[in-house]
């Protein structure tokens, strides 16, 4: 269990990036959802021991990892949002270097063999001998994944992991994460709602450094069930609609705006029909609520308890087991 209590981070400015985060993260996949600048990466960097918080406590399986970041580093697999490698090294050598620094060994395998197998897992065998500086963004990301999962880490932190991956690789990575999350904590930070919906049995919603919600995706969706309507309006009518209803999404399609509104009470406008709600709707409603009424603390009882749910099976790409 990763326990976060009253975590505060203030950058010089001052800019408050985290305003008292209080969170319990059980074994399994846990999503951290929020818009850009919400404080997700700050939280991730604090958990990875790369950033000192202003206040608060964080413990992993009861051990204070803020006081001694070395304790978390031993069990950590970390894939940051933005990272690079030594450009003069080949992918294989870079991975070997990182594995040595992590002290990773494998029964019956040399380091070279281990690197080779890991690279094969992330589909980089063909490029193993190439210098990292010649890698594409996706290849770099995959190399990052390889180093993050190596060593059987107890805590895996992945920050926007699918950036730069093509759809096929993205699905493959989801599958990998799902597999890994069976017996460890995997913390996934993303602003792609769909990723959380697909992968995470629990997630937290964070905005402006505060926790807005922490629940299961199904619960979040259930909360807005029957309150989302979709219709089509002319562009010149959109402003009028906005003034009268909570518009959550608007998309211009063939000269008309396809609009979704949040209508918890009363009748929807003419031509608007109820739709099957998604986690994205719940997310947008929560963000809209926070924007309209100020930031609300996460309601009591929404803190995840230690009860875990089975990890949903990630959608596997065609042909994958």
């Amino acid at each position: 269990m990763l326990t976060i209590r009253d975590l505060v981070k203030v950058y010089p400015g001052p800019v408050t990036a985290l305003q008292g985060i209080h969170l319990d993260i059980p074994q399994g996949m846990f999503g951290l959802l929020g818009p850009n600048g919400a404080g997700k990466s700050t939280l991730m960097r604090i958990l990875a021991g790369l950033l000192e918080p202003t206040a608060g406590q964080v413990s992993l399986h009861g051990e204070d990892i803020l006081k001694d970041p070395q304790k978390v580093r031993r069990h950590l697999g970390y894939l940051p949002q933005d990272f690079g490698f030594y450009p003069h090294l080949s992918g294989e050598k870079m991975l070997a270097h990182l594995l040595t620094l992590k002290g990773v060994t494998a029964r019956g395998r040399s380091l070279r063999k281990l690197c080779s197998e890991l690279l094969e897992r992330v589909n980089l065998s063909a490029a193993a001998g190439r210098k990292v500086k010649s890698y594409s963004g996706g290849m770099r990301q995959r190399l990052g994944i390889a180093q993050a999962i190596a060593g059987d880490p107890r805590l895996i932190i992945v920050d926007e992991p699918t950036a730069g991956l093509d759809p096929e690789e993205r699905l493959r990575f989801y599958h990998l994460l799902a597999e890994l999350a069976k017996d460890r904590i995997v913390l996934l930070s993303t602003h792609i709602v769909e990723d959380v919906a697909v992968l995470c049995p629990r997630f937290a919603l964070i905005r402006q450094g505060r926790l807005l919600a922490c629940s299961r995706p199904s619960e979040a969706v259930a909360e807005v069930e029957g309150t989302i309507y979709e219709g089509s309006v002319a562009p010149e009518e959109l402003d009028r609609l906005r003034s009268q209803h909570r518009v959550t999404q608007s998309l211009l399609v063939e000269g008309r705006n396809r609009v979704r509104i949040y209508q918890p009470e009363g009748s929807p406008p003419e031509g608007f029909l109820p739709v099957v709600t998604s986690l994205e709707d719940a997310y947008l409603v929560a963000m809209g609520n926070a924007q309209a009424g100020g930031i609300a603390e996460v309601p009591e009882g929404r803190h995840p308890n230690s009860q875990t749910e089975p990890t949903p099976q990630a959608p596997a790409p065609e042909g994958m087991s």
């Binding site: 202003t54 580093r73 990272f83 090294l89 620094l101 060994t105 029964r107 980089l124 059987d152």
Partner: protein, 1206 residues
């Protein structure tokens, strides 16, 4: 093209440069340096040394032109190279290149915008430097330097800035700018200023032996990017007078102007090239994307790389590759140990360094530079020296220290920046690798950079030793000197750089602070303000001797090294504590700066600081109690204060006989001395009291007077004896003394040379000091320093007619009996003849007796081998046999010839003893000459001058010209010693090697005099007393030359006859001769007394120096032969008769013998200063050269312009 876009880039880059901490650190240190320079410490060596005399101004154009290139090349260039070299690399690291490329910004707008911004920023720095110089030199009141300040003229600053500063700056910015963009490797642009320092500081600016071909010299002047060599060679080397330097403009010649323009253009072209290269790089990148073939290749690779994963559960891979869960389950991770982690990091860093091409280029540069320096090193009398491995290792220490500290700084800072620069920071820093391992591993990996100059210097040195072909190569001295002295410096410096980088988290701040520390240290070293405590680089503190390896100041040196080493853990602890692997929280950091938490932090680091503090304290005590410590200074000052007025001019008895027994204890560097002085009152009056000076190191001193215990009045080291009855004229008395003490007594302040010592490897003690016997009377130099140094004495013209005391030693010669007890395997020499040698189980007692009186005596001891000649012996270190046979031959010949020419040698056997090169001198004590190991024994004959003969001949001549004939203490006296010894050497060379040997050495003396004389301070020979700048070269070189011209004036036989008579007349005192006594004595020997007196008036009583210039030289057939015509201009001073020869062929063959095919026709001319005379010489042969003074008989300036190829 858009000026708007270019200006946008320009403004941004300019602001970035001007806001950098590095820039302002540079400026702060510059302020300190310029302020220091405004105190007049660095001035042109010209002017008078007398109070109220003309001084070289620090405000003149020449002075500014001298200082500015040093500042630009040795200081600003480092910052400029960093800023310029990283300009493009920083953008590349920040990954903004692609965004910029997506705009309409064109490559050349981007590059020129950046380039011009950096040029502007550093031109601004140059302008600020000039403004600071003006402010400190003219605006800031400073009464102590008023004599050095001239009136303010803006052009004195602007012209040097434009001619010297700006072109250098453009080159120093443009080249690293290009290198940085071209290679995208910061290290390459860092290597540039270090290479510059290497080439300029250690070669171009100071390597200028007198025998260097002027054409090569000229070429090197133009190749110097700073212009220093040109300024020195053209205007400063030969002193043109302080008036000239204070008022004249720096005259520029066309080649130099072109050279400056070329350097400026090179800088601008480098920016232009950068622009082209950058644009080409972009086109190439786009081209690659657009090229179908490369696109295909890339796509194919991508396709291959993106092919579906072959999990173990699928297809043919099954069984070969484990499934992911199995693979993960098979893995374990345990954080690497401290050492393993460090080694892994080191291996990675090491691998990267090996891929730096600049490293290899730099290595080659160091090898070449070392080779050149070693092969061309010059020693005493501008002779080439034979380097030994130890000397080579020690002499390269300063250069190596500077190079390696600079390289380590650059590479370590960049290495610590690497993760941040390439984005691997979160991956590496979140790994369980310990911070200490990370930092230590990087430091270890980068130690290759420190190793590289060592290997390169060693290779260069090894090649030089092989080419020398005499001294065998051995590794021991290199390991000892570099391992013991250099390694601690490099470790501490690396740890310091790591700590600074950890604290500041900025490469630019690190460069600023570290360069500041280096600059500050070097400045203090150059101004003599470092000591063992602060000299962390041991710069200039260590002398090498093959005979005595680091024996002097060993305790202080070792403590210094331990102190430096002990800072390594402290700096590393600081680095680990401050390293922002986990980025600190600003609020918590501020919280930590409150008194209580801060005190806790300091307390936490205190254990690491304990060792440096303890060692520092011990070292400061050592310095304080040492020979140059405050206690010793106070003691000497008390001696001066208490006795100057009473005893400086007091009469003292003279020595009749010395009997002394010295027991040496080499391991403790101490002695016990017991003996007697038999004194006589030679004055016509009664002597109520007299004084002897004791040494500051003397312990348990006891005295006797005429055999009875006596307690003299101890006036701070001056022991005043008041006999019961005054000493009547001619009355004798005997003083006995006994003491013990160590010599040297404690550590020096900062190492350096030691002229007398007792060491396990050797002993040198003389009666010139109080090291082993008391000195008669008051000693003038003791307790005199900068604060109480008096002005040089002005002597009246008839001073020589007074009764003059000898320039050294006793007024009356005395006999000696010196008994020396030392180790059994030690040989101990003193003046006189060996009377007895007594051996015990572990000691040897040697007794030397001298019945032929001397005026000073010494003890030299060592473990030697001996080369026995007929009447001479050479005692030499077993590793230095190279020149011994020749030295022995020369010694025999010199002793025989000088006896014929000057006076029969009154003693029997002559000994030359080699002593450790802790000081570089040879002293001509009667029968017992100590030679420093560098002199003679390690001299290398060059192409034209037989250095062994020169050195040996000069020192042996002192047996006559210092011992048999002791000059008086007064103006011109020392010329009878040193000048006469040089003259004797000229005679000896001509006798042994023919005219060419003499002519070549005479030319070398002449060039040395031309280079080192100080025009305004120079006085006539009869006034030279060694107190003024430039007196040394006048004493040796001009003195020797003028005596040679006197021989030419009188004729050889008359001169030698005169000198024999002179020695006979003056050798016994009590009045000792000065130069006027010689010139008067020689008058009767002149065939033409009028001409002789005119000659003496001009060369002895005036300062004249002819300079001949040949103009309009031409040769044409005429009748049966050729007519050579020219105009001969006497551009110097004085009236001289000079010969001019039209010659054909080489006069001498390679071996120095006359060339029979050589032909010449001569004419002579009488010329006064400023006069011009036409030359018209008819020859029956076709001449190829016109030479003024072909026999090298007239001392002159710039002899090279007094000959012309036809």
């Amino acid at each position: 093209m858009s000026w708007t876009r270019l200006l946008a880039v320009f403004h941004l880059e300019l602001a970035r440069n001007l806001k950098r901490p590095m820039f302002w650190t540079m400026m702060i240190v510059l302020i300190l340096i310029v302020f220091g320079l405004s105190n007049g410490n660095t001035r042109i060596s010209s002017g008078s040394a007398t109070v109220g005399g003309d001084e070289a101004w620090i405000t003149s154009e020449f002075s500014v032109a001298l200082i500015l290139p040093f500042l630009v090349t040795l200081y600003i260039a480092f910052f400029a190279s960093i800023a310029a070299g990283l300009a493009i690399i920083s953008d590349s690291e920040a990954k903004i290149g692609e965004i910029l490329r997506a705009t309409r910004l064109r490559p050349w707008e981007y590059i020129w915008g950046k380039g011009l911004a950096i040029v502007t920023a550093f031109s601004f720095a140059l302008a600020l430097t000039i403004a600071l110089m003006i402010f400190f030199n003219h605006g800031l009141p400073n009464p102590s330097v008023e004599d050095f300040r001239g009136p303010f003229q803006l052009s004195n600053y602007l012209r040097p800035a434009l001619v010297f500063g700006l072109p250098s700056l453009l080159a120093f910015l443009g080249i690293p700018f290009y290198l940085g963009e071209r290679t995208r490797r910061p290290a390459v642009s860092f290597l540039f200023p270090v290479g510059l320092l290497l080439v300029c500081g250690f070669f171009l600016w100071n390597w200028s032996p007198t025998w260097l071909d002027p054409k090569i010299d000229r070429l090197l002047m133009l190749l110097d990017p700073a212009g220093v060599r040109w300024l020195d060679g053209t205007w400063l080397k030969q002193d043109l007078g302080v008036g000239f330097y204070n008022h004249a403009r720096v005259g520029l010649d066309l080649p130099f102007i072109l050279s400056r323009l070329a350097w400026s253009l090179l800088g601008l072209c480098a920016i232009s090239l950068t622009s082209r290269n950058y644009a080409r790089g972009l086109r190439s990148a786009q081209g690659k994307e657009a090229s179908p073939s490369s696109w295909f290749r890339r796509r194919r690779k991508e396709t291959k790389a993106s092919s579906p994963p072959r999990l173990a559960s699928r297809g043919s891979s099954r069984g070969q590759v484990a499934s992911l869960p199995n693979l993960l389950a098979s893995m374990t991770s345990a954080p690497p140990g401290v050492l393993r982690g460090a080694l892994q990091v080191a291996r990675s860093e090491f691998g990267l360094l090996l891929k730096q091409p600049g490293i290899y280029l730099f290595s080659v540069l160091i090898v070449v530079q070392t080779l050149g320096t070693n092969l061309l090193a010059v020693g005493p009398f501008q002779t080439q020296v034979l380097l030994t491995p130890g000397q080579q290792a020690t002499q390269s220490l300063n250069t190596l220290t500077l190079l390696t500290t600079l390289l380590l700084m650059f590479f370590t800072a960049e290495s610590l920046q690497r993760e941040k620069a390439c984005g691997a920071e979160p991956l590496i820093y979140s790994s369980p690798l310990r911070t200490f391992s990370l930092l230590a591993g990087k430091a270890m990996g980068n130690s290759l950079v420190g190793l590289l100059p060592l290997v390169a210097v060693w290779i260069g040195g090894a090649i030089a030793l092989l080419l020398q072909g005499s001294v065998p190569l051995s590794l021991g001295p290199y390991f000892l000197i570099w391992g013991l002295l250099l390694l601690p410096t490099l470790l501490a410096w690396t740890a310091f750089v790591v700590a600074i980088q950890a604290v500041t988290s900025s490469r630019f701040a690190t460069y600023g602070i570290c360069l500041g520390v280096l600059g500050f240290t070097i400045y203090h070293q150059l101004t003599g303000n470092l000591d063992w405590l602060s000299n962390w680089m041991v710069w200039g503190s260590v002398s090498w001797s093959d005979m005595s390896v680091l024996e002097v100041d060993r305790k202080a040196l070792m403590t210094n090294r331990l102190l430096v080493l002990s800072t390594v853990p402290l700096f590393l602890a600081l680095a680990v504590g401050a390293f922002s692997r986990r980025r600190f929280d600003a609020a918590n950091t501020l919280e930590g700066l409150r008194p209580r938490p801060l005190a806790r932090t300091i307390w936490r680091f205190l254990p690491w600081a304990a060792a440096p503090l303890a060692l520092g304290f011990a070292l400061s005590l050592m310095i304080e109690r040492g020979v140059e410590g405050q206690a010793a200074k106070n003691q000497a000052k008390d001696y001066w204060k208490q006795n100057l007025a009473t005893w400086r001019d007091a009469e003292n008895p003279d020595l009749l006989a010395v009997d002394v027994s010295v027991v040496l204890d080499l391991p403790t560097s101490s002695l016990s001395s017991q003996g007697t002085y038999r004194l006589v009152n030679s004055r016509p009056e009664e002597m109520r009291r007299f004084a002897l000076t004791g040494g500051q190191h003397w312990q348990d001193v006891s005295w006797t007077l005429d055999g009875s215990p006596y307690e003299p009045d101890n006036r701070s080291g001056l022991y005043v004896f008041t006999p019961p009855l005054p000493l009547a004229p001619g009355e004798e008395t005997t003083v006995g003394f006994q003491f013990h003490g160590a010599y040297p007594d404690g550590a020096s302040a900062n190492g350096g040379q030691v002229s007398e010592f007792i060491l396990p490897s050797g002993v040198v003690l003389t009666s010139f000091t109080t090291s082993f016997v008391p000195a008669l009377g008051y000693q003038e130099g003791r307790g005199v320093d900068e604060d109480n140094r008096y002005e040089p004495r002005e002597y009246p013209d008839d001073f020589y007619q007074e009764e003059i005391p000898p320039f050294a030693g006793s007024r009356t010669p005395f006999t000696t009996r010196v008994s020396i007890t030392g180790p059994l395997d030690f040989t101990m020499n003193s003046v006189g003849e060996l009377q007895e040698e007594k051996l015990s189980e572990d000691t040897r007692t040697t007794i030397w007796v001298n019945d032929v009186p001397v005026r000073f005596f010494n003890i030299v001891g060592g473990r030697w081998e001996v080369e026995e000649g007929e009447t001479t012996s050479i005692f030499y270190h077993p590793q230095h046999p190279y020149n011994v046979a020749q030295m022995s031959e020369v010694a025999e010949a010199a002793k025989r010839l000088y006896s014929e020419w000057f006076y029969p040698y009154p003693w029997q056997h002559l000994k030359i003893s080699e002593f450790p090169a802790l000081a570089t001198y040879a002293q001509g004590f009667a029968t017992n000459i100590p030679f420093s190991e560098g002199i003679g024994f390690l001299t290398r004959p060059d192409e034209k001058t037989d250095a062994v003969t020169v050195v040996t001949g000069h020192e042996i001549a002192h047996q006559w010209w210092a011992n048999i004939l002791t000059p008086g203490e007064g103006p011109g006296g020392n010329l009878l010693s040193e000048g006469m010894s040089h003259f004797a050497t000229l005679l000896l060379l001509e006798e042994l090697q023919g005219p060419r040997g003499r002519m070549e050495f005479a030319k070398r003396m002449e060039e040395n005099y031309g280079d080192r004389r100080q025009k305004d301070a120079e006085r006539p020979l009869v006034k030279i007393d060694g107190s003024r700048p430039g007196d040394t070269t006048v004493t040796y070189d001009k003195g020797g030359w003028v005596f040679w011209m006197t021989l030419r004036q009188l004729g050889r036989e008359a001169m030698l006859e005169g000198l024999q008579g002179f020695i006979e007349e003056w050798k016994d005192g009590p009045d000792y001769p000065l130069l006027e006594d010689l010139t008067e004595f020689l008058l009767p020997y002149a065939n033409d007394p009028v001409a002789y007196e005119e000659f003496v008036r001009q060369w002895y009583f005036q300062v004249v120096l002819p300079e001949f210039q040949l103009q309009d030289v031409s040769r044409e057939p005429s009748g049966s032969g050729y007519r050579t015509t020219a105009r001969l201009h006497q551009a110097g001073s004085g009236k001289v008769r000079v010969e001019v020869a039209a010659t054909a062929g080489e006069r001498f063959l390679e071996d120095g013998t006359p060339n029979e095919s050589y032909q010449e026709t001569r004419a002579h001319f009488d010329l006064v200063a400023g006069e011009e005379s036409p030359i018209d010489i008819f020859t029956e042969f076709e001449p190829d050269r016109l030479v003024v003074d072909p026999d090298v008989q007239i001392l002159q300036l710039r002899r090279e312009q007094a000959s012309a190829d036809l």
